[in-house]
């Protein structure tokens, strides 16, 4: 084949948007082709006379270029290979780059010889919804059927390796955002930009200009390209105007929150080190929708053969890319716009055989254009069939009757490789509708136009149903001026003038939703509505007959408009056919819902940089790097990384935890407890506030003393716990669990601000201020005494549940004598910047005592040995203090506290509530799995009645046996009884219900 056989010379097409001097080589289905800079994959393939590009979804019928941009339903290709591969790109939107590799999708072994075509042969058996009616017998075969169906479906192939590209996000604010860089959008941008407003104008194509790029009309008496260049130059010079080509406005969300997707390197091919795509999140004062209109097809027999193409697309290939979509053409239209196409094609040397017009009376200007070029116009006529094997070779035309539902005998046959079709225009109301905008039906144009919206937005130009260039320019200018004014920007001085063009008089289109076939052939032909999903007019009518009468049922039953093009060209014809079948008007039938995105957007771009390790920020304590350097294994606790255990010399977790636990009871253990939440509570009503928040009483806590508290949510369930200390008169320091630090702070503020604004209390989070280092064990006091000279750390000087201020290892410190291990234990709080220094000082000075850092796992074991609960482990939002056997902490005297009333409800008084107990397995070395369910009768039939589950379970090195905490129905009164735990591996373990305190039940070690 000759290179670019269908590329039109400059003699035929002047000024196309390609650089003929720059060749680009690419591969399609294994063959190398040449294109030019400025080409899309589609235009280059058209120029190379490649017609068969894809196969349809269901019947695997051959598909060629139908559109020239976002609207094309057919030409999906797989671009790139390996990790870089991209499925389902629309060839009309792929910019050519050197070395581009593209292949057809959904065809095997090749797009030319696809075995899937058997579906087409069986298509009689596969009408809309056939799968609901069959594949049910035998029931067990469905899996097999499904396997076959799944493999046949899908289009391109997902990559298998991680995406090598990156994506990022950008927030931006502007006064006026304009979607669409056609004449309407540009006029709006000029008007708004000149006021000084912050303006953004986006267009999803490679260059701005919209229809101007493919049109020969004049603007301001200049060729469109010239005007475009000057407009862009002016916009480019405006400081507050941002012009963004290759940027799709994909969604219009509430309150003018707009999503844009900018393609930054796609046109350059793989291998760039900036983000491949960028998602812009815009807050716009005013939005102008100027996204143009989408041409519709006509539903006639054989309308899916490659070679049948939207008229506007044919003109675009010719005018914009100098690519000839066919040598001989027949134009088939219901409106005047295709006459301009006919003229453009004819002027480019394409032989226009005829214009077949459904109407009796085409517009005068249109007719004139045809007759000036000696093009035959067949009025009140229609194409009743296309002929050809894989592509169109000719058409048959007949006269249409007055009703439009049949033909009049006498046919004309034309040979042609291109049928350029226009079924009228549908404004791109998509974005207008995303945020709830309504549409109105334009009876004359046969389309929906933007109606009411709550957003500060307006639609202009073709997107608003204005199809004349002159109107578009005027309206765009107006909209730009008004939108800017609505955000407070006005051009001072004389009223400026916008761009102009010559208005053209047109006649209205004629809407015939189903073009009759040749007499007698009605049942033999296929007329496609949705070219991607193979929905025909017969499918639409079948659905209606079967009772799927709502448009939404129609859509879902036939899959009309559910493909990757989202029915841009097919929705209205589908609705028209349904309306006719139901004998309703089209607006009564209504339209399906327009949803984001306008065109498909890369999932990685939506995620942006927040993937992999950057999914969420990591929170680190001041000692984090010490832990890291000392081999700690970390545990994720919320966003924190906490040392889980510190394996040494090849220890496994079990060995490390045992060593750490022993050290904490026999020497000194040191824990990084920085993650605890800390809240500074001040004010004359602080103790009253605590009384309301906690279940126990707070009025009498002396300065220097600490108290454990339990917080309930208003439904009576345990929400959080922690120690609160009295710092000075009317000032407390509350600690919370690590996981609840933020939510408790929010909880306190909520009550203060919304319910008790009269309370004089201030809360401030100081979680981040303090590094918390806990030392625990028989030598903890000795160590502390060594490093701290200004606090008497003796049992009397610093009794259990008290705190003092002083210095430890030179750092200003608050030392709390509290214990989560049951040993003598000090929580040393120092300003975070001192955390690491103090940690190192303690490690150095503690070496002689055998100081051992321990992680969260050992902490869990140590506290379980003492029967201390962990909120979120022993509790799950369904446990009351009573269930936890913590009656002692619920004040009987206080008239009220949060959650108190709920505790009195019927269900809380049951004595078979699940209650917290200890468990001893019969075999002391058997460690129960956490979460294991507990039963009374392990031989009971399934479903087996369950009475509780294990909440915590460990092998205690200190006790030399396993211990567990569990909740058991009525457990508090069942101590000594045996229960059973049927495990996943089929074994059943026996265990005795015990108290919760396994170690040092008298609490003697607390005081050392």
């Amino acid at each position: 084949m000759t290179r670019q056989a269908n590329r039109l010379g400059t003699d035929l097409v002047a000024g196309a948007r390609i650089d003929r001097s720059k060749s680009i080589w690419f591969t399609f289905n294994g063959r190398r082709y040449e294109g030019h800079e400025g080409d899309t994959l589609a235009s280059a393939l058209v120029a190379n006379d490649v017609q068969l590009v894809a196969r349809s979804f269901k019947y695997h019928r051959p598909r060629g270029f139908f559109g020239a941009g976002a609207e094309d339903p057919c030409v999906m290709v797989q671009v790139g290979v390996g990790a870089e591969t991209l499925p389902n790109l629309r060839a009309t939107q792929v910019e050519l780059y050197d070395g581009l590799v593209a292949d057809s999708v959904n065809a095997w072994p090749s797009v030319n010889h696809d075995v899937g075509i058997v579906n087409d042969l069986m298509s009689r058996l596969l009408p809309a919804g056939f799968y609901y009616k069959t594949f049910m017998w035998p029931a067990s075969w469905w899996t097999t059927y499904e396997h076959v169906i799944r493999n046949a479906a899908g289009m391109g192939v997902a990559p298998k390796q991680p995406d090598p590209d990156t994506y990022d996000h950008m927030h931006i604010h502007c006064d006026v955002l304009i979607v669409g860089g056609g004449p309407s959008g540009l006029a709006a941008a000029l008007a708004a930009g000149r006021t000084g407003a912050r303006v953004i104008i986006v267009d999803e194509q490679s260059e701005m200009g919209g229809s101007i790029l493919a049109s020969r009309l004049l603007v301001d008496d200049k060729p469109g390209a010239e005007w475009l260049a000057s407009a862009l130059a002016e916009l480019g010079a405006m400081e507050e105007v941002r012009v963004m080509p290759r940027t799709t406005a994909f969604g219009h969300y509430d309150h003018n929150h707009m999503g844009l997707l900018e393609r930054r390197t796609d046109h350059l091919g793989p291998g760039h080190d900036i983000a491949r795509q960028r998602m812009w999140k815009v807050r716009a004062g005013q939005v102008i929708h100027a996204g143009g209109a989408i041409e519709r097809s006509l539903v006639f027999a054989g309308n899916d053969r490659p070679g049948v193409m939207l008229a506007s697309a044919a003109a675009t290939y010719v005018n914009r890319w100098a690519a000839r979509p066919g040598q001989k053409t027949v134009i088939f239209t219901n409106n005047d716009s295709a006459y301009g196409v006919a003229a453009d094609l004819a002027d480019a040397g394409i032989s226009v055989q005829a214009i077949v017009d459904l109407r009796v009376e085409p517009g005068a200007a249109a007719l004139e254009e045809a007759s000036a070029r000696n093009i035959e116009v067949l009025t009140a006529s229609c194409v009743v069939e296309t002929r050809g094997k894989r592509a169109v070779e000719g058409v048959t035309v007949m006269k249409l009757n007055d009703a439009g539902d049949g033909v009049v005998v006498g046919e004309r046959r034309f040979d042609c490789g291109l049928v350029a079709v226009s079924g009228g225009w549908s404004p791109a109301v998509h974005l207008h509708c995303h945020a709830g905008g309504k549409v109105d039906y334009d009876e004359i144009q046969g389309c929906f136009v933007p109606g009411k919206t709550l957003e500060a937005a307006r639609s202009v130009g073709a997107a608003n149903g204005q199809l004349d260039l002159a109107d578009c320019l005027t309206a765009g200018w107006q909209a730009g001026t008004n939108a800017a004014a609505d955000t407070g920007f006005r051009k001072p001085g004389k009223v400026p003038k916008g761009p102009t063009a010559t208005a053209v008089e047109v006649s209205p289109p004629r809407h015939v939703w189903i073009i009759p076939a040749k007499p007698g052939e009605e049942n033999k032909v296929k007329r496609f509505v949705d070219l991607q999903n193979d929905v025909t007019d017969a499918d639409v009518r079948l659905a209606a007959r079967e009772g799927y009468r709502s448009v939404e049922h129609l859509k879902r039953y036939t899959t009309l408009g559910m493909g990757t093009d989202q029915g841009k060209t097919s929705n209205i014809p589908g609705l028209g056919i349904l309306a006719a079948e139901l004998e309703k008007s089209l607006p009564d039938v209504g339209t399906t819902t327009f949803r984001p995105p306008y065109t498909a957007i890369t999932m990685g771009a939506i995620a942006g940089r927040y993937t992999g390790q950057m999914l969420e920020p990591v929170r680190r304590s001041p000692m984090h790097h010490w832990h890291e350097n000392h081999g700690a294994a970390f545990e994720d606790v919320g966003q924190w990384k906490r040392p889980w255990y510190y394996p040494q010399d090849g220890e496994d977790m079990h060995a490390a935890v045992a060593r750490e636990c022993l050290a904490a009871r026999n020497a000194i253990g040191i824990l990084d407890a920085t993650t605890l939440g800390k809240i500074d509570i001040q004010g004359p009503d602080a103790s009253e506030f605590l009384n309301r928040i906690y279940t126990n009483a707070w009025s009498k806590l002396a300065v220097g003393r600490c108290r454990y508290g339990l917080m309930l949510s208003e439904d009576g369930m345990v929400m959080d716990d922690g120690v609160t200390s009295c710092i000075s008169d009317n000032r407390y320091l509350m600690t919370t669990t690590s996981g609840n630090a933020a939510s408790v702070m929010g909880w306190l503020e909520e009550w203060l601000q919304t319910e008790w604004p009269d309370l004089k209390v201030w809360c401030n989070s100081i979680s981040e201020y303090w590094a918390t280092l806990t030392i625990s064990g028989p030598f903890a006091r000795d160590l502390l005494a060594e490093l701290c000279s200004d606090i008497d750390v003796s049992n009397d000087g610093l009794p259990f549940m008290s705190w003092r201020e002083g210095t430890v290892a030179g750092a200003p410190a608050r030392v709390f004598r509290i214990s989560f291990t049951g040993e003598v234990s000090f929580e040393i709080n120092v300003p975070a910047s001192h955390g690491l220094g103090l940690w190192q000082a303690l490690m150095t000075a503690g070496e002689k005592y055998g100081i051992t850092p321990y992680g969260t796992e050992a902490m869990h074991v140590l506290r379980a040995e003492k029967g201390y609960i962990i909120v979120g482990q022993e509790t799950d939002g369904t446990m009351t203090p009573y269930d936890l056997d913590m009656d002692w902490i619920v004040s009987k005297k206080k008239p009220d506290f949060i959650g108190k009333r709920s505790l009195g409800r019927a269900d809380f008084l049951r004595d078979d509530r699940k209650q917290l107990v200890g468990l001893f397995t019969e075999d002391p070395l058997e460690v129960l799995p956490e979460g294991a369910q507990i039963v009374d009768d392990p031989n009971a039939p399934i479903p087996m009645p369950m009475i509780g589950h294990v909440t915590s379970s460990y092998l205690s090195a200190n006790l030399g046996r396993s211990i567990a905490l569990a909740v058991v129905k009525g457990g508090i009164n069942r101590k000594g009884e045996t229960v059973h735990l049927p495990l996943e591996n089929g074994r059943t373990v026996r265990a005795e219900i015990t108290g919760m305190v396994f170690y040092d039940p008298q609490g003697e070690r607390l005081n050392g």
Binding site: H169, H173, K281, P617, W762, Y769, H834, L836, G837, A841
Partner: protein
């Protein structure tokens, strides 16, 4: 023992000061840590004359009542955080907090030391706004975010206070200490395409 410990700024482990010496002068922006600032959160009633004048006396700044604004004395800055909440920022060693606490002891106000809670990352230069815009929904355009304006928001999903210091532009970004390394990492990544230099702000 007193001299054996080392105070560590939140980003100490990144050795920014060492990196600052190898700064690239063509960079689109500079980033550095301003550590060890004294910071106090002050809560109180702006309408209370005692309170307002205590703040003025101690800091030399008028209590900023205008939302999202900063009052500065050159030495101390007072940032508006909310209708009854301010952040006083002073260089290391300042005793403004305790003095204010003392001055407010008879009224319902609270002064809480949060010096260690946050560190400040300074972003400056031509592309500072772009980097912020990558992760923060505030409008940093020069028309709507001006010198001595501040705001609390999120940057890359981390809570921050942003204070524009100069027209350079230069921004102080206050971030919680535990998040500081993550934010720095994110900023480095965001800034990479513009080129950045590590600075050593004082």
């Amino acid at each position: 023992m007193a001299d054996s410990y080392l105070r560590q700024s939140a980003l100490a482990s990144l050795h920014l000061i060492a990196r600052a010496n190898q700064a690239d002068s063509n960079a689109g922006l500079s980033m550095g840590e301003r550590g060890f600032l004294c910071q106090w959160v002050v809560r109180g009633d702006a309408g209370n004359a005692v309170f307002a004048s205590a703040v003025k006396d101690v800091t030399g700044c008028d209590l900023p009542i205008e939302p999202n604004t900063v009052q500065g004395s050159g030495y101390i800055n007072v940032l508006w955080l909310g209708p009854d909440e301010w952040l006083i920022v002073a260089p290391d060693g300042s005793d403004a907090g305790p003095r204010l606490d003392e001055a407010c002891k008879d009224i319902h106000a609270a002064v809480t030391d949060v010096s260690e809670s946050r560190t400040v990352i300074v972003l400056a230069g031509e592309h500072a706004r772009d980097v912020l815009a990558k992760g923060c929904a505030l409008d940093f355009h020069a028309r709507s975010f001006v010198v001595d304006q501040c705001a609390q928001s999120t940057l890359a999903h981390m809570h921050v206070i942003v204070h524009q210091r100069s027209d350079a532009p230069e921004f102080d970004v206050y971030v919680h200490r535990s998040f500081a390394e993550s934010l720095w990492q994110w900023l480095e990544d965001a800034a990479a395409e513009y080129g950045f230099a590590v600075s050593n702000p004082v």
